[in-house]
C-alpha cells in the first residue's frame, strides 16, 4: 500500500518546468546574451541597436524594450524570435527607463538632453517631456504608478514626478552621481544609489524626507572604488542587494535595519542585477570582466561566472 502511495506521489509531482531566462545587454557588442537559468549557459545571442543598456519586459513578457543609447532609440523586440518589431521615439541617448504598471507608458531618461521622455508604447508617440537636472539616468516608478523618479547624475538630485500631471513635485539632494533608484516592494521607501558618493540614500515616500544613509566598506578595497549602482530587493522585501561597481562586490543590506550584512565577490565593475524567476538566484552584470556572476541568494555565495559579450550592462528576467 505504502509503495503504491509513494508511486502515486511520484507520478503526481509536477515535472520541473523550464526555469526561465536571463537577458543581458552587452554595451560594446551591440547584442543581448540570453542565459538559461537551468543550465547557467548562454543559449542565444541576439543583435540589437548600438550600445544597448537598459532592458525591461512588458508585464506579460510578450515584448522586450531595449534602450539602444547610441542609436537614440528604444527598440521593441519579440522575445520569442529575437526580431526587432519597431523602434520607439525616445529622445536622444536613452540610458535607463522604466515601464509604468499600466504597461503602456515608458518613462525614459535622456542623458544628453536633461529631460525625461514619456512614450506611449501603443500609439508609439511621445506624450510628455519633463525638464529635469543635468544627465538624468536612474528611473523608478512606484508600485501604484503614481510617482516616477528620475535621478540626475550631475545635479545630484532625485526628481519626483507626479504621473497624473507630468510635473515635478519634489527635488531631493543625494550624494554625488546618483545612477539608480528603486522603490521598496510596498512603495513606502525610495532607495537611491550614488556612484561617486558610494552611498545609498533612503527616502520616506510620503514625506520625501531622507531617513537613512547606507555606507559601505570592504576590507582590502579602496573607498574610491566603492561606487554604488544597481539595487535589487528580494521578493520578500527583507534584503537588498547593492552593486558596488569597480569594488567588484555586491553588498547585502538588511532592508529593515539598513545594516550591511555581507559582501559578495563578483566580476569586475558590476552594474546591475536581476533575480531568477523563483528568486533563488541573483545574476549580476560585470562590465569590465564581460561576464555574469550567479549568486545563490539563500547562502549568499557566488556559484558561477558566465562569459557573455563585451561590457554587459543591463539585465532582465524572462520566466
Amino acid at each position: 500500500m505504502n509503495r503504491i502511495l509513494t508511486a502515486l506521489l511520484l507520478v503526481a509531482l509536477p515535472l520541473p518546468v523550464a526555469a526561465g531566462e536571463i537577458w543581458v545587454t552587452n554595451e560594446k557588442d551591440d547584442s543581448i546574451s540570453v542565459i538559461d537559468v537551468d543550465t547557467l549557459e548562454v543559449v542565444r545571442t541576439i543583435p540589437t541597436g548600438e550600445r544597448p543598456r537598459g532592458i525591461t519586459f512588458s508585464s506579460d513578457h510578450s515584448r522586450a524594450y531595449i534602450c539602444a543609447s547610441d542609436s537614440d532609440t528604444v527598440q521593441v523586440m519579440d522575445p520569442a524570435t529575437g526580431e526587432i518589431l519597431h523602434d520607439l521615439p525616445s529622445g536622444e541617448d536613452p540610458e535607463q527607463f522604466v515601464l509604468a504598471p499600466d504597461d503602456r507608458h515608458l518613462w525614459i531618461a535622456n542623458e544628453n538632453d536633461a529631460v525625461t521622455t514619456v512614450v506611449d508604447v501603443e500609439s508609439r508617440k511621445v506624450v510628455g517631456q519633463i525638464d529635469v537636472g543635468i544627465e538624468p539616468e536612474g528611473m523608478a516608478v512606484s508600485p501604484d504608478g503614481k510617482i516616477v523618479i528620475t535621478t540626475s547624475e550631475t545635479t545630484n538630485m532625485a526628481h519626483w514626478i507626479d504621473t497624473a500631471t507630468n510635473t515635478i513635485f519634489a527635488n531631493t539632494l543625494v550624494d554625488a552621481r546618483p545612477r539608480y533608484a528603486e522603490f521598496t516592494k510596498g512603495g513606502a521607501e525610495l532607495w537611491v544609489s550614488s556612484e561617486i558618493g558610494g552611498t545609498v540614500t533612503v527616502f520616506d515616500v510620503a514625506t520625501q524626507a531622507e531617513t537613512h544613509k547606507i555606507r559601505f566598506a570592504i576590507p582590502g578595497v579602496n573607498d574610491d572604488l566603492i561606487q554604488a549602482v544597481g539595487i535589487q530587493f528580494t521578493p520578500d522585501g527583507k534584503t537588498a542587494f547593492v552593486a558596488l561597481g569597480p569594488a567588484n562586490h555586491i553588498a547585502v543590506v538588511n532592508a529593515e535595519t539598513y545594516e550591511v550584512e555581507d559582501y559578495i565577490l563578483v566580476g569586475r565593475r558590476v552594474w546591475h542585477m536581476t533575480f531568477s524567476p523563483d528568486g533563488s538566484q541573483l545574476f549580476t552584470t560585470n562590465g569590465v570582466s564581460g561576464d555574469v556572476t550567479v549568486i545563490d541568494v539563500a547562502s549568499r555565495q557566488p556559484v558561477k561566472s558566465i562569459k557573455v559579450g563585451r561590457f554587459p550592462w543591463g539585465a532582465a528576467t524572462r520566466p
Partner: protein
C-alpha cells in the same frame, strides 16, 4: 599475518612518536596558518581576475592558497619523516627494523603509510582551522579530498624516504631544505596559478608544470570541489611509484647508496 603485525607495529611507533612530540602538531599548523593569515591577507584582492578550473567564479586569494598550504603541510611532513629516518639510521633502530624477516619494500611501505597518515591528520586539522576562519569548501569536497590528500602525502613521503637513503648525516638536512622543499614549494601552483606564472615567463610555467608537487596540489584543489583531475592524478600516482621504487633501490644493501655508507 606477520606482515600486518609489522604494519601495525610501525604505525603504532609513528603514532606514539607523533603524540610524544606535542609541539609537532602545533608547529605543523602554525606554518600554513601564518601563510594564510598574514601572507594571503595582504593579497586578498590581488587575484580574482581570471577564472580557471576547478573554480567557477571569482575567488579571493585566501581561498586559492588553501589547497597549496595543505600541500605544504604534506611536503614538510614528508621531509620531516625523512629527517626522522636519518635519525633512526644514525641511532641504529633503522637497522633493527630492516632486519625483520619481511621484504624490505614492505617495511618501507609501512613507514610510508605511517608518515602519510600523520600528514593527512595534520592537513585536516588545518582545514578545520581554515573553515573556522571562514574559508569553506563544499561538504562533499572534504570527503572527496581524503584520497587525494592521502595519495599526495604518500607521494611526498616516498620522496622523503628516497632522500633519506641518500643523506648520510643529520646535518645534511639543511641541504634538503634548500634544494628540495623551497624549489618544490615555490615552483608550483601552490601560491600562484600557472597562468600567473606564464605571465612572468613561459619557462617558469613549464618548470612548475614539470614539478610533481604542482600536480599533487592541483589534485587536492580539484578534489576539494568534488572534481577529478586525471592528469594530476596520473602524475601524482606515477611520481609516488617512481620515488617509492627509488627508495627501495636506495635501501637495497646490495646495490643501493646505503651500502656505500658502511
Amino acid at each position: 599475518m606477520s606482515w600486518l603485525l609489522a604494519l601495525k607495529a610501525i604505525l603504532m611507533r609513528e603514532a606514539l612518536r607523533f603524540l610524544g612530540q606535542k609541539g609537532r602538531l602545533v608547529s605543523a599548523l602554525v606554518r600554513p596558518l601564518v601563510w594564510l593569515f598574514v601572507f594571503a591577507a595582504g593579497f586578498r584582492a590581488a587575484l580574482g581576475l581570471s577564472i580557471t578550473p576547478p573554480y567557477q567564479t571569482y575567488i579571493t586569494y585566501e581561498i586559492y592558497i588553501v589547497p597549496g598550504l595543505v600541500g605544504m603541510i604534506l611536503l614538510f611532513n614528508g621531509m620531516q619523516s625523512s629527517l626522522s629516518l636519518v635519525y633512526d639510521r644514525e641511532m641504529g633502530s633503522m637497522r633493527l627494523l630492516l632486519t625483520a624477516p619481511l621484504p624490505r619494500w614492505w617495511l618501507l611501505f609501512c613507514r610510508l603509510v605511517a608518515a602519510a597518515l600523520i600528514s593527512v591528520l595534520q592537513a585536516y586539522a588545518f582545514l578545520v582551522v581554515a573553515a573556522l576562519y571562514g574559508i569553506r569548501f563544499p561538504p562533499l569536497g572534504y570527503v572527496a579530498a581524503l584520497p587525494a590528500i592521502l595519495l599526495a602525502a604518500m607521494m611526498l613521503a616516498a620522496l622523503g624516504l628516497f632522500l633519506s637513503s641518500m643523506i648520510r648525516q643529520l646535518e645534511n638536512f639543511a641541504g634538503v631544505m634548500n634544494f628540495v622543499i623551497f624549489p618544490m614549494f615555490f615552483l608550483s601552483s601552490a601560491l600562484y596559478p600557472l597562468w600567473k606564472m606564464a605571465e612572468a615567463s613561459p619557462r617558469l610555467r613549464d618548470l612548475c608544470q614539470a614539478n610533481p608537487f604542482t600536480h599533487a596540489v592541483e589534485l587536492i584543489r580539484f578534489a576539494l570541489y568534488g572534481k577529478g583531475n586525471l592528469l594530476a592524478l596520473a602524475v601524482t600516482a606515477g611520481a609516488m611509484l617512481v620515488f617509492g621504487a627509488l627508495a627501495v633501490w636506495g635501501y637495497d644493501p646490495a646495490r643501493g647508496l646505503a651500502s656505500r655508507k658502511a
